[in-house]
């Protein structure tokens, strides 16, 4: 495995933030996605959705400002932006499942070349596991972005031909953003859109089990 710098978790979030546009309604999942709100492009307003019935979450609450009736899906006290609204959890998931969100960003254990996502349970782990809202979100998102490291801690590829982990959803992922690349899931397979600075498409492919298609020159990820 090339000993070159990869994007940090924060940089993955920063790159993902550039996929969000002004006025978008967006759900952010656990892990790297949850860092995205800190890196929004200047001048845009994004309405963050939380599955517990909030639209228009603002920044996290500062010490002393916490209200434990106002928490996000990770139980973290948050604030509201003007124009926020509350609704019940069924309506919150009517939004996720019904395709009302513009973008959903989830973490991932594995993504397959067909856009299958596995992100809720590690095989052999103790206990029954936790699904939460991930299956509703992945089934309904108009544009599902997965943010994750390109490889496991043991260097195994996480972008695979077929997921070996328990699935969250099938054919649901639109874009994968990792510490090495931005990859689009298309009908004809995975297309390499951008590579991490200093990495070649061939080097990224070597870290990837699934075949990555290259169409012309592949630019480097620009965090500017």
């Amino acid at each position: 495995m090339p000993d070159k710098p990869r994007l940090s978790r924060e940089q993955i979030a920063q790159r993902a933030a550039r996929e969000l546009t002004d006025g978008a309604y967006v759900n952010l999942g656990w892990g790297i996605p949850n860092l995205i709100a800190d890196y929004l492009p200047k001048g845009i307003t994004v309405y963050f959705h939380s599955e517990n019935g909030i639209l228009g979450m603002g920044r996290r609450a500062r010490p002393g400002e916490e209200d434990y009736d106002l928490v996000d899906a990770m139980k973290v006290p948050v604030t509201l932006i003007p124009g926020a609204s509350f609704f019940n959890q069924a309506d919150a998931h009517l939004m996720t499942r019904g395709g009302h969100l513009d973008v959903a960003v989830l973490g991932g254990f594995q993504v397959s070349e067909k856009g299958d996502l596995a992100n809720w349970k590690i095989p052999g782990s103790k206990g029954i596991g936790n699904i939460g809202g991930a299956m509703d979100i992945s089934a309904g998102a108009k544009n599902l972005i997965v943010c994750m490291e390109h490889n496991t801690k043991d260097s195994a590829p996480k972008i695979v031909k077929q997921c070996s982990y328990p699935l969250t959803g099938i054919g649901c992922v639109n874009t994968i953003i990792t510490d090495l690349a931005v990859i689009d899931v298309t009908k004809s397979g995975l297309v390499l859109r951008e590579v991490a600075p200093g990495w070649s498409p061939e080097e990224v492919q070597a870290q990837t089990e699934a075949k990555l298609q290259v169409r012309g020159r592949v630019p480097e990820i620009n965090l500017g």
Partner: protein, 225 residues
């Protein structure tokens, strides 16, 4: 901030194409988007599928659309004894109509909104409504499969919108409006008043802004007939 406020009734419906599937809010004279309906009719739209509890009263509410022969198909629970223009069009075979129990009309729209592909209900079992629908027994009860009703547009009426599209409704003028707002691809709301963002208490928002795509302020014509 994305701009959802439209300068005029005519502008806000300008791109609704002939043949569109359109939901119309309102019940019993309350909560009808009368100004939007007038603008839509004025624009000379043709061949629409209208999804509405009823078919208007004389020239009021949806009535004008039937008078002008602009509707090809209706999905309704109570076309209404007072909708003489609908009745005429229907008798002449110019309009077809699917009659749906009122709560099932709501649920089918909500299913579309919620990304569900169908549901089983006991409502209508053994009646004309069950004709042509899949029937089975679940937990010892006969039930039929009902499918979602989607629409390209919803024309609805609210009392207040903030500039983002959060809505509140007045009294029983709420009725079908919040359901249709959720079920259509593009929701256009006519309101009595547009208020600044933050004016509506987040806990009192009835339709969250995510469901509202275009807002137009209109003085309320009303057809109580």
């Amino acid at each position: 901030m994305k701009q959802k406020i439209s300068p005029s009734l005519d502008a806000v419906v300008a791109d609704i194409p002939d043949g569109a599937r359109i939901m119309f809010g309102g019940f019993g004279g309350a909560g009808f988007p009368n100004n939007l309906i007038q603008a839509l009719s004025r624009k000379g739209i043709k061949e629409i599928t209208a999804i509405s509890n009823n078919c208007g009263t004389r020239e009021g509410e949806l009535g004008i659309m039937f008078k002008n022969g602009q509707v090809r198909h209706v999905i309704a629970a109570f076309p209404g004894p007072h909708s003489n223009y609908f009745q005429e069009c229907y008798a002449k075979g110019e309009v077809t109509c699917e009659l749906v129990p009122q709560g099932i009309l709501c649920e089918r729209m909500r299913a579309a909104a919620a990304g569900l592909l169908g549901f089983y209900t006991t409502v209508g079992v053994g009646t004309e409504v069950a004709n042509g629908k899949e029937e089975r027994v679940i937990d010892g009860k006969r039930c039929i499969l009902e499918k979602p009703i989607h629409a390209d547009f919803a024309l609805i009426k609210a009392e207040k919108a903030d500039e983002l599209g959060n809505l509140t409704y007045r009294l029983a003028a709420r009725n079908f409006n919040p359901i249709m707002a959720m079920a259509a691809s593009t929701t256009i709301v006519e309101v009595d008043e547009i208020v600044p963002v933050g004016s509506i208490e987040p806990e009192n928002v009835i339709t969250p802004a995510i469901f509202v795509h275009r807002i137009v302020q209109a003085k309320g014509l009303r057809y109580a007939g």
